[in-house]
């Protein structure tokens, strides 16, 4: 068991491991110098300090009401613990956050605080919404050690400004999350995948658009383009008769693109979407891996426009969110952004050497007025620059 931080001398450069929100607040108040906030440290984010402030000690479920589709948990709670608890009631985190361990070769256990701070959302984002859409409320400690709450545990809440959205995806730079409340959804009775093979990227994205523009409630729309083979996958979930009906309708709708196959084997369906969610095709390779957020129909053109040599030969491109999310590999150290001057969206080097990430910046540069607002917000929430210096807008 670690000592509580309040007992450490304020000048000690030891890592901090508070066990309660109050401890954390006291620790931040007496901080000299910056810290890097970690939960399970599975995303391996680097900033200008190595001194860690771990939130893993703040763990536990505060409240779970299956009939209200809500769960309130402390930020350091492991995602696996939450998923296990939800599964017992046939519920789940609908935004299916990516687990970075496979891609980044990290170990440790992902925490819900890390998921929320990183705004991590998987394939179901297109239908069930992102992590930020499921996030109903937060408690956090700002850079002055003040404990702040916003939102709550109800689904409709417009009381005051929505700092909940601001905190989701702010990577700890505005405050340390201590507790989050989340909307959860039922696990459907059945899941099936409608598949097409060997479509050109441009046709695949058209097929995904057609499926997403249909009334058949698609909950996953991905295309894996590999040198030897490509696979276009559309996920349907719900009660069995309904899933079977919609599989039939989509088969008709998409037959103009090629032969349509249905996969309804629970294990294979589950594994294939887990592979998409965790970007399996890039596990264990040595290239840099970039994530691009774009307008879906722009996606194939953007990938095709990349100059020879920037992408590693024989590597895959994974399109998720109907094309709106692109994962691709580049030769180490390449500046993908420089090759995409007309990008409507943004590009992030998720896996790259520390020096590459430092040179290029993890976060896509923003227009000056937006950058100015962001910096000012950060300066207000963390005036002494204690949290994750060097990350995001600082």
């Amino acid at each position: 068991m670690t000592e509580t931080v309040a007992e450490l001398p304020p000048t000690a450069a030891a890592d901090l491991e508070p066990q309660t929100e109050q401890d954390l607040s006291e620790a931040v108040k007496s901080l000299r110098g910056p810290v890097r906030i970690v939960g399970g440290d599975t995303q391996a984010l680097r900033c200008k300090t190595d001194r860690k402030l771990s939130v893993a000690g703040l763990s536990g479920v505060t409240l779970y009401e299956p009939g209200a589709l809500t769960i309130v948990v402390q930020a350091g709670t492991q995602v696996s613990e939450i998923e296990g608890l939800l599964e017992g009631e046939r519920q789940r985190l609908a935004f299916e956050p990516i687990d970075y361990r496979g891609l980044l070769g990290t170990d440790g256990a992902p925490t819900i605080g890390g998921v929320v701070a990183g705004g991590r959302s998987g394939p179901r984002r297109i239908q069930a919404g992102a992590c930020r859409d499921a996030l109903l409320g937060v408690r956090f400690v700002d850079g002055t050690g003040t404990i702040v709450k916003n939102g709550g545990r109800v689904m409709k809440n417009v009381t005051g400004y929505d700092l909940v959205k601001l905190m989701a995806g702010s990577f700890g730079t505005l405050g340390v999350l201590t507790e989050v409340s989340l909307k959860v959804l039922p696990i459907p009775a059945m899941t099936a995948t409608v598949r097409l093979e060997d479509l050109a990227d441009v046709d695949a994205i058209k097929a995904l658009s057609a499926a997403l523009g249909s009334p058949y409630d698609v909950t996953g729309a991905a295309h894996l383009s590999s040198p030897d083979k490509s696979l276009t996958s559309i996920r349907l979930e719900g009660f069995e008769a309904s899933v079977r009906y919609r599989c039939g309708q989509l088969t008709q709708l998409l037959s103009r693109f090629g032969a349509v196959h249905i996969d309804d084997d629970p294990e294979s369906v589950s594994q294939s979407w887990s592979d998409i969610r965790n970007v399996r095709p890039f596990h264990g390779t040595t290239d840099d891996v970039w994530k691009l957020s774009v307008t879906p129909s722009d996606a194939p053109g953007l990938v095709a426009s990349l100059p020879d040599g920037i992408r590693s030969s024989a590597s895959s491109v994974l399109y998720d969110w109907g094309g709106g999310l692109i994962w691709l590999a580049t030769r180490p150290g390449s500046d993908l952004r420089a090759s995409l001057p007309d990008l409507r969206g943004h590009a992030t080097p998720v896996r790259a050497s520390d020096s590459t990430r430092k040179t290029l910046g993890m976060f896509h540069p923003q227009p000056a007025p937006v950058e100015r607002l962001s910096r000012q917000l950060r300066a207000r929430f963390d005036p002494d620059g204690r949290f994750n210096p060097g990350l995001m807008h600082a």
Binding site: S121, T146, N157, A241
Partner: protein, 482 residues
């Protein structure tokens, strides 16, 4: 309702302000005649009125930017206004403010079915967004009950909801991007056709900020393909506790209806007298609607009616055709009109955790007796967004005040039960002074820090959202700086 005293220095500037505004806007876009500005002296919270200094009706983002820059430089407060349908006084002017009405900006700029989005000018009404795409089988999901009149700009300001949020979410879940003008005239673009922000989620922060951080002039909205069909089922129970249990059991069973509406006895009686929809007289009535193909609807309703039956309903009525579906919805849709027939009413919109439904309804009944005013409840049960309607007579001295006092108690009750003051109407001036029931001073300070960043002079939509005493220092600092 207390409003800050107008700044005399601003009042003195009226003539020069109007002249400067006329330099950048067509003459019919600047209204300064007190007779004509009367149309803008209140929104749908009609109990409070105040004529503005003047009204401007710009036609482009560029004009909005020029207006804001002028007002910023002259230190004149600005109240942005969509269609003026706020029930919370979100567009109530102050005497020293300019109303910036966005109604003339109502064009569709782009429809893109491949990417399932539409880009509109923000003065466009909610329903006419769907109107622009429905011939092609698409719709815009958030559907506040004022959707015929309310503007997207106001929907974004208040993060409006509607009856179908359980499945489709509220405005913030369907908003992909905005063009927004800051108080100093700076135009910024947030979001667009891509889903995630590059940095902080400023789009999420803007949505629901009640027009206090900037003026949204254009919006990119997510559109969805219309489901193949929809069908409601009606069920009546002789106890609201049981009805609450039914709601919870339906949700736990893994069915996600698009809407679960709840009405209590006073509301059923009023609606029945008004619309004669053939509702059963009971303590609690639920209308549950599901969507999909015929077979899918049958499957979902099969599960729902089985749950409903297991709780011994006094009535269970499934719609067999469109006509019967219409009759099921008829009473619910005329609820507000029915109440208006009986009396004046105040509509609250606090949200509670669904699990506290029976407790909160019981307490509301007690409070209603204590204050001597009837309360009818009609609300979105799936998401806990209540709409207690307090009936009063505005012509009887003191009844408005009693009504407001009862309303405040009910909203405090919602917060105590683990919920919030407002689920979809916004704070405006109406719930401004109750904010410290829900938030500690540090919580409000964090929100006001955001306001400081976006609008350092505190000129945008003054005297809303934050209790006047809490925002006092910031507002007076801004006046002193002139």
């Amino acid at each position: 309702m207390e409003m800050p005293a107008p700044d005399p220095l601003v009042l003195l500037k009226k003539a020069s302000l109007v002249a400067t505004l006329k330099d950048v806007l067509p003459s019919d876009a600047v209204i300064s005649d007190p007779v004509e500005t009367r149309a803008y002296e209140c929104d749908a919270l009609t109990a409070y009125r105040c004529p503005p200094l003047c009204v401007v009706l710009p036609s482009s983002t560029e004009e909005v930017s020029q207006v804001l820059r002028i007002c910023h430089d002259m230190n004149v407060p600005v109240v942005p206004r969509g269609s003026g349908t706020s029930l919370a006084g979100g567009a109530l002017p102050t005497e020293d403010s300019v109303i910036l009405g966005i109604a003339r900006m109502n064009a569709v700029l782009e429809t893109d079915y491949d990417n399932r989005l539409i880009r509109v000018q923000a003065g466009r009404t909610n329903l006419s967004v769907t109107g622009a795409v429905e011939a092609d089988g698409f719709f815009y999901a958030p559907d506040p009950s004022s959707q015929l009149a309310c503007a997207i700009a106001g929907n974004i300001a208040m993060n409006s909801g509607g009856a179908h949020c359980l499945k489709y979410g509220v405005t913030t879940n369907n908003l992909l991007g905005v063009t927004m003008v800051q108080m100093d005239g700076t135009v910024i673009e947030l979001g667009g056709g891509h889903l995630d922000p590059a940095g902080y989620d400023l789009l999420g922060l803007i949505c629901g900020s009640e027009g206090q951080l900037g003026v949204v002039t254009e919006a990119t909205l997510r559109i969805l393909r219309k489901p193949e069909g929809a069908r409601p089922v009606l069920m009546g129970y002789d106890s609201s506790i049981v009805a609450g249990q039914v709601v919870s059991d339906i949700i736990k069973a893994g069915v996600l209806p698009v809407a679960i509406e709840f009405m209590d006895r006073p509301c059923i009686e009023a609606c029945e007298a008004f619309a004669k929809a053939g509702y059963p007289m009971c303590e609690a009535l639920l209308i549950v609607e599901v969507e999909g193909s015929e077979a899918e609807i049958d499957e979902q309703l099969g599960i729902i009616t089985e749950i409903a039956r297991s709780h011994n309903p006094v009535e269970l009525r499934e719609a067999r055709d469109a006509d019967e579906a219409g009759r099921i919805w008829l009473g619910r849709k005329s609820a507000f009109g029915a109440m208006g027939q009986i009396n004046d009413y105040m509509c609250l919109d606090g949200t509670i955790p669904v699990s506290s439904l029976a407790f909160v309804l019981g307490r509301i009944t007690e409070l209603s007796k204590e204050f001597g005013l009837d309360v009818a409840n009609v609300f979105h049960a799936g998401d806990g967004n209540m709409h207690p309607l307090i009936l009063f007579d505005a012509n009887v001295d003191g009844q408005l005040e009693t009504c407001e006092a009862l309303g405040a108690e009910i909203l405090k009750l919602c917060v105590e039960a683990g919920g919030c003051l407002t689920g979809e109407h916004g704070v405006g001036i109406e719930k401004r002074d109750l904010m410290d029931v829900q938030f500690a001073p540090e919580d409000l300070e964090a929100q006001m820090a955001v306001k400081d960043v976006f609008d350092p002079k505190w000129l945008l939509n003054p005297a809303k959202v934050f209790p006047l005493a809490v925002s006092q220092d910031r507002r007076s600092a801004s006046i002193a700086a002139q």
